[in-house]
Subunit: 432 residues, 2 copies
């Protein structure tokens, strides 16, 4: 007779981190599809594409490490210090100094176990309950913002988000829209709340919006005025992986935290995130790595080390990733236009300025995209419903139930098939 | 003119995790020595040794992955689901069922980014503030216990530790001692505190003590009586890496959480921890991985996958690690005996039942080992002072200032030199 299944009570914080809001069921759907359903069209998730030229570079580098014998052995058998591999930290600081003139040394850098872990540390370091008894929040000046942040707060209600202006007909194309930071709203939020940091992803995940240099400078100024850091999540942007279609100057200053990652370069399996920050914050992140997880994976840093030392890591995006993802995005846009127009659906895509997503707006939808997600899943198209990206907002915004994020980096045929199904289901859902 | 260095206030929890008690300065000492001082004798830290036979296995397996092309590419470019690679989870569950008859499936397992991260999740899931308003603590029945736990609590005072009985002259050797769980103290602690889990490392880090099967069964019974899980940290033990010198039966039951790791097998650079637990707890750990860090590194799981599938991972310890570490430990014990006896120091070593440390007790010391640590460092011997392993205790215990942890897995000559210096300094410190 099987013993009864035990129930163990969970702490408040543990239970919240373990339950993880709405995103865990979506990840479970993805996991099941990957394991059991090769026919599922995978437009959910943020997996980078298999870009052959980059995969060849990675394979070649691993062969080089193996041929060097001791280098490979050391990489596998030795813990790095919690801050990261000293040679990697020096090489990266040197590259940033040389290329951008930033006043950074190894003490301004901390490696983390992937970019997401960096945000868990940074948000809970700069927001939450403070010793003097007050609570500080993280301000997201442009919502929708990355879903992976939403449940990372050890405190409830860690985030405070601003609704952007929505510019329809961007670039003269009626099917293109673009979010613009509403600086009046940002200033109101700063005036009425205790804010510990301002945070943006650039390009923005999900929308692919790229904040202009002027917008970034203005946010940095507002943050500096309050004495809080501006956090720029550069998971998809410049200096690397540089999956951008518009010019954007990498930005760092002595009160800015810039995060980078090797994931979208093509190495998510190595879990390598990078924080470039004022020294006390980089030291705090290294300390949190030590306490939470002892050390980081060594392999990602060793794979890219020579490319950081000789600067060639800055060319991988331009030479290999940009052309690859631009071609996929163009094909996906053609598929969207054909399918959605043919189905008579009202639609618009956010300006594709970076990353590899379509952020599809369906203003005529009569059901929430959470429901559309389920209908699409039943027809074997996996997406991410937009609702999950609109956290921290005050008040209701119908727009938050009218968007889908689609990873369009996969094979063009798959994306085309998916768009035909999306168009059919969107037309049905617009009809009521 | 350089701008003044900015100060950013930190949250209560963030500041605590970032400062990390006393262990961070020790890690910084190690990092500096590794980077700048090749002459430092490194007996601090828990880095496994470079065991040639195991390194050859790892190199060979990586060559095999590269030769298989797509397998290597997929490992680098794809995120695994947060719980871990499905094929790895199935293989491990199968191995544990076959070998030990445990009723486990993939839903009982969750991979984490190293073993330490598993404990951050488990301790804060089962201890801390609970929804009904009470607080629960983690009971450590045998103190000294692993220093890496000490600062992992999001809540203050998460741990409650019991002082063991100290058996001098263990095995008839006056220079050997052994800790024994004081079950009366454990039962008193359980009766007077709200405990959310009982946790032990087996072998114990730092002492190398291996709880007997009877002790483990008795702890499991006490935990079951209270309806809380028993957590067994198997970083050094059986089924793998199996760095044991005494028989010890791997133990799991449906209210036991067993953690394992690939680090001491020789793969710390891959950051691969494994939790085998009741389904709701394994699911919670997977959820916490998703929220905190999105996914785990893929590489460690792929390196060992065929060894898990064919069961050969269970032979690596017996065939390669045990003989290697046993030889190093014997040489180190000879060095200890010669140096310390010659210096006329009162000393004893904990019974070496597993792992690769010496836990050296110097009862005649007139200074705390924190101070001895500094004197040894000045003479280029890095150790870990014992004080850091005695957290969660009530009352003062002089023994806690009389022990050093020494990693004796390094070259015999280095360990011998280190012991000569330790003996000299211990004699000086015993004289006053």
């Amino acid at each position: 007779m099987p013993s009864p299944r035990r129930e163990f009570p969970f702490s408040i914080v543990g239970g919240r981190l373990a339950a993880g809001g709405g995103i865990l069921p979506l990840m479970a759907d993805m996991g099941r599809a990957l394991a059991d359903d090769p026919g599922m069209r995978m437009l959910g998730g943020g997996n980078p594409a298999a870009v052959p030229a980059v995969q060849a570079l990675v394979r070649h580098r691993m062969e080089e490490l193996l041929a060097a014998g001791p280098a490979f052995d050391r990489m596998m058998v030795n813990y790095d210090p919690p801050r990261g591999n000293p040679r990697f930290l020096s090489a990266l600081a040197g590259l940033l100094r040389r290329e951008y003139g930033w006043d950074v040394g190894p003490d301004n850098i901390a490696v983390t176990s992937g970019g997401q872990a960096a945000f868990f540390f940074l948000f809970n370091l700069l927001g939450g309950a403070f010793p003097a008894g007050h609570r500080r929040r993280i301000l997201l000046p442009l919502c929708p913002e990355y879903v992976g942040y939403a449940d990372q707060g050890l405190d409830l209600d860690l985030f405070l988000a601003c609704r952007p202006a929505v510019e329809r007909g961007h670039g003269g194309d009626p099917r293109c829209f673009k979010y613009r930071i509403d600086f009046a709203a940002v200033e109101r939020a700063l005036a009425t709340h205790d804010v510990g940091a301002i945070a943006v992803s650039r390009p923005t995940n999900p929308s692919g919006n790229v904040l202009t240099d002027a917008e970034v400078a203005r946010l940095a100024g507002l943050a500096a005025d309050r004495g809080v850091p501006l956090i720029v999540d550069n998971a998809y942007g410049a200096p690397f992986p540089d999956i951008l279609c518009v010019p954007a100057r990498p930005f760092w200053a002595d009160d800015v935290i810039l995060t980078m990652s090797l994931s979208k370069l093509g190495l998510p399996g190595t879990r390598t995130g990078i924080v470039v920050a004022p020294e006390p914050i980089a030291a705090a992140v290294a300390g949190m790595t030590a306490i939470v997880g002892l050390a980081n994976g060594t392999i990602g840093q060793q794979v890219v080390l020579p490319w950081v030392e000789d600067g060639s890591i800055l060319r991988i995006g331009r030479e290999h990733l940009q052309p690859f993802y631009a071609a996929r995005a163009r094909a996906a846009t053609d598929a969207a236009r054909e399918s959605l127009d043919a189905a008579g659906v009202d639609w618009a895509l956010h300006a594709q300025e970076g990353a590899f997503f379509h952020w599809l707006w369906l203003p005529g939808l009569r059901i929430p995209t959470l429901e559309l997600y389920e209908r699409l899943k039943a027809r074997r198209v996996l997406t991410v419903p937009g609702e999950h990206f609109f956290f921290g907002l005050e008040g209701d915004w119908p727009h938050s139930r009218q968007c889908l994020r689609l990873n369009v980096s996969g094979p063009a045929d798959t994306v085309r098939e998916a768009y035909q199904i999306i168009a059919t289901e969107a037309a049905r859902a617009a009809a009521g």
